[in-house]
């Protein structure tokens, strides 16, 4: 009889504990949803700003290419169609958003020394040309874009380290003659513009895919 009574009490305790556990679980799920929503807002804002910046850099690079062709002498439009080795790839790789953002970051980093080289070459060739100022503007904006991509990656993938560029530090072309410098500069700028086009497309895609998924648990980011 006493054993039966004890079992009854135990059963009641278990039931109460189960009820409490369910309640706590509900609370946890609800709080998770709130955090995800706030993160979702932040995600949209960051990606939107990054998209806007990438478009701006893209536009400035387009202007720079026009000025570049105009300042390099006759038949300079042929330079941009040439194919030379050592120019970074404008494509973005990866299937997952984290991979693609990391790829964007890496590509921007790779292009930076090339832009610097173009600036140096033009400084040597035409020291007082207004082209130098335009190159500097694009380089500055490119730096800001790189930082922003880095920031986004760290926000959404805090536990994933940013991969370093494959193949180590960027390799620049060896000393060139003036003709090669002109061709090199035009190809670098044209390729960089393609990269910016791809970045803008990816940003739009990421924004539409990532920031509208309400539960954070469903993000690939948080796996």
């Amino acid at each position: 009889m006493n054993g039966h009574v004890k079992n009854m009490h135990l059963q009641q305790l278990v039931e109460k504990a189960a009820t409490l556990l369910c309640f706590l679980l509900l609370l946890a799920v609800d709080s998770t949803k709130t955090v995800a929503a706030s993160r979702n807002q932040e995600c949209g804002y960051d990606l939107q700003q990054t998209l806007r910046l990438s478009r701006q850099v893209h536009k400035e690079t387009g202007n720079l290419i026009k000025k570049y062709k105009a300042s390099e002498g006759e038949m300079a439009e042929l330079f941009c169609k040439a194919s030379i080795s050592g120019i970074p790839d404008p494509n973005i790789y990866g299937l997952e958003p984290s991979e693609r953002i990391a790829s964007i970051y890496t590509q921007l980093q790779v292009f930076s020394p090339h832009l610097k080289r173009v600036h140096e070459q033009q400084m040597d060739l035409q020291p007082k040309s207004p082209l130098l100022n335009l190159i500097n503007i694009v380089r500055d904006q490119s730096r800001r874009l790189t930082l922003r991509i880095n920031n986004i990656y760290r926000i959404f993938f805090p536990n994933l380290p940013l991969p370093e560029p494959a193949g180590g530090p960027t390799t620049l072309p060896p000393p060139q003659n003036v003709f090669q410098q002109k061709v090199y500069g035009c190809v670098v700028l044209t390729t960089y513009k393609k990269l910016l086009t791809n970045i803008s497309k990816d940003m739009r895609t990421l924004k539409s895919k990532v920031c509208r998924r309400a539960p954070a648990s469903e993000f690939n980011f948080f796996r």
Binding site: M75, F79, Q126, P127, S129, N177
Partner: protein
Amino acid sequence: MFPQDRTVPVGANTTFCCIVEEGTDFKSILYGSTVMNVKRLSRRSYATTAVNQNISGKSGTNVVCLSNDPSKLTGAVIFVGYPPLLSKFECETRDLIIAECQWEEGRRTNLYRKNASRYSVNERDCPERQRCTLSQWEGNWTLLAVNPLGQDSLTDSAEVSHRVHPVAPVKLTPVAHAWNATVLWEWTYSSYSSLALVCQVELASHNTMLGNFSGVGLRSAVLLDLQPDEEYKVQVRCGSQKNFWKWGDWSKALSFKTKPYVPDAPDVWMWMNRDNTGLVVWKPLTRRQSHGQIVGYKVTLWNSEENEQHTEILSPESKVLPVNLTRWASFSGDNKVIATVNAKNVEGMSQPASVLLRLIDDEPPALAHTVYTSTGFPLSWQHNDNSTCGYLVEWCNALCTRDCPVDWIRLDAGNTNISVQSADFQPGVRYNFSLYGCPSDFPVLTHRWQGYMQELAPSSSVRLEITQQGCDVVLTWEEIPLAGRRGFLLGYNVYISNGSQLTRLANLDLGTRTYTKKGLSVSIHKFTVKAYTSAGEDTGGTASIRLESCDGLILEILASLGMVTLLLATVAYFCYKKRRWVKKAFYPDIPEPKLPGDWFRTQGPLDVKPPPHSMVHIIEKPERDSSKDALVVIPEEEEDDGEGIGDEPVDTDEPQSLRYYNQVVDERPIRPRFPDSSVSSSSSVDSANTDVTYTGIQTSCSSLVFRSDSQCSSEGFQPHTGFSVSSGDRGGGYQPQMQPVALGGNLASPEPLVEPQVVSSGGYKPQSSWLLDSPTETDEKISPPPSLGSPTSVASTQFLLPDSEEHEEERRQPSSSAAAWFTNLLSSAKP
């Protein structure tokens, strides 16, 4: 491609060689945008030569080797420029120690970066392009410029004292007074203290002045002839007084203001009205004259002999004081009243300015015309050698007559002409100018002029009055008021309005203000008179007049009336005298129908010719008015006239020849109406109530009434049955006139018609006994038998005339029926 990055002088020739990759086809070589002639050197080598090359762009000239694969681009860049060329190399010193050398490029080399020119002075490299500083004054300098295309050099030598280029003075300080100021400054280098300097001071106020000051180590300058209470701006620069090389740099500008001073005496004048009132006027002091802020004016009127004085203090904006000299007891005599004006500012009172108050132009000189020019109104006069006084020219608007706002200008003695200019002059306004001698002591009016700055067309028009004098039109008008003239009037143009156009009649001089126009027709005339100046006409004064007839209008009317009366009297007299003729012509008597003697033998219509003597049988109806029932005997006077029927034998005893006119139906005067005569019998149907029965001879159709022929049989009885007689019936030989008479219900039944006829036609009884021989009438037994003398209306007094066609037709009718009718007639006529 070879060569790469070559630098060549302008005009040189360069040969380029292109070696295409294995597996790639050569296409062409471009020098800039020029496709070059290419020489193939080997399987993959091609060469071209650019001759007499032009100067290249900043980034050089591109030489491109094109292949069939655009991605495999090879090429070279060539720089075409000039060797260095130098000019204007000189060295100077600022601090008397350091040498600063400068030069210019005589020609741009068009070479940049590592190809750019490199400079050195005395073998010391000069990093700056056109300037080099040497720490010591060496006295001799050599400048060398080198680039890949060549080099150039220049030399210079000088002593340090000959090449002093002073720096700008610093720390300028003013010490200002009312009429002068002192400017102090300092030098950056102490070495200047022993240097003989010449300094230039630029003083700017309303205009800019330059003053030179010199001295060893000069540090100040005194500026004279300044204006009190005036803003000034000053700058200083200096140079070496000995062996002047060049002016140093300008110092920073320094601003200061001089102190105020008592004002100048104002320029005073007066305007006197004829009633010994007037104005004391003075010109507001300019900034240069006021020497500070004017705080007011003191005006004193005084009489030196009577020692009578009156003072007023006026505000700084005042420039006029009205005066009334009649209040001054002493003014009526020869004593003089003098007005004195003092201006006052913060520094004190100005010197007094006086003017004698008196009416000057008692007998003003004649006004001469003056014509405005680009410099103003030119005025000139003869100089009085005895006079040592100056002059004053006064002007004002000519319209003004009292308390006029005059303007004036003072002239020194000896002047004999002036050109008066003022910003207040306006076009179209007449100005009067007066020249006074000795204006300050005892002003005397010597000359007067008047003129317009610009003459305009008059703004107002003449007031035109128009009157008729006899057959002429007289126009008169008054002068245009001075305000509306806006120029010197030259005359008047008189126009007459011809529709919308004006036709000028006359051009009158200024003194003529009346005009007479003669020879105008009697109608409305409109005239316009326009005054004109050298600038044109005014809009014109217009007046209209309706010109009345001017030569014996009443006489004409009376004469016309008399003639009309005379004419009427003549006509009346003539008509009276010839009244018979008139009656005959206009009111001819109705011819009597006459029956020819052998009328019964004629086959056509009867010729109705009333016999000379007719008999009338009157049957009176008792209930009718006797006056209406009376029968009128047709006068037989004119029966002989006409168509020769009067010659025919007429049986005057025959009752048939009688004709009656029933005045009950028609009370009009009886006149012959031939066309209606045929209806007289037929229309008797309508006049069923008539009491008259006549047995006059009917027309031919009447004679056919009793025929069996349907043509006329219908006419025989239709009247009695109330049926209308229709011409379309074609039953008779005549066109009966339809004169329907209301018969009431009697028309429905012929019965009522019968009785009166029977009663009234007692004298015609034999007629009623005639038998019908018309088969168409036999059925109508209730109707009285048709007869020649049947009761009938004589409303129509005209004879029925047969249509010619029917007449012919009737002529062809067999005479048998006529004979039968005649037989009946005779039988019935016999008692």
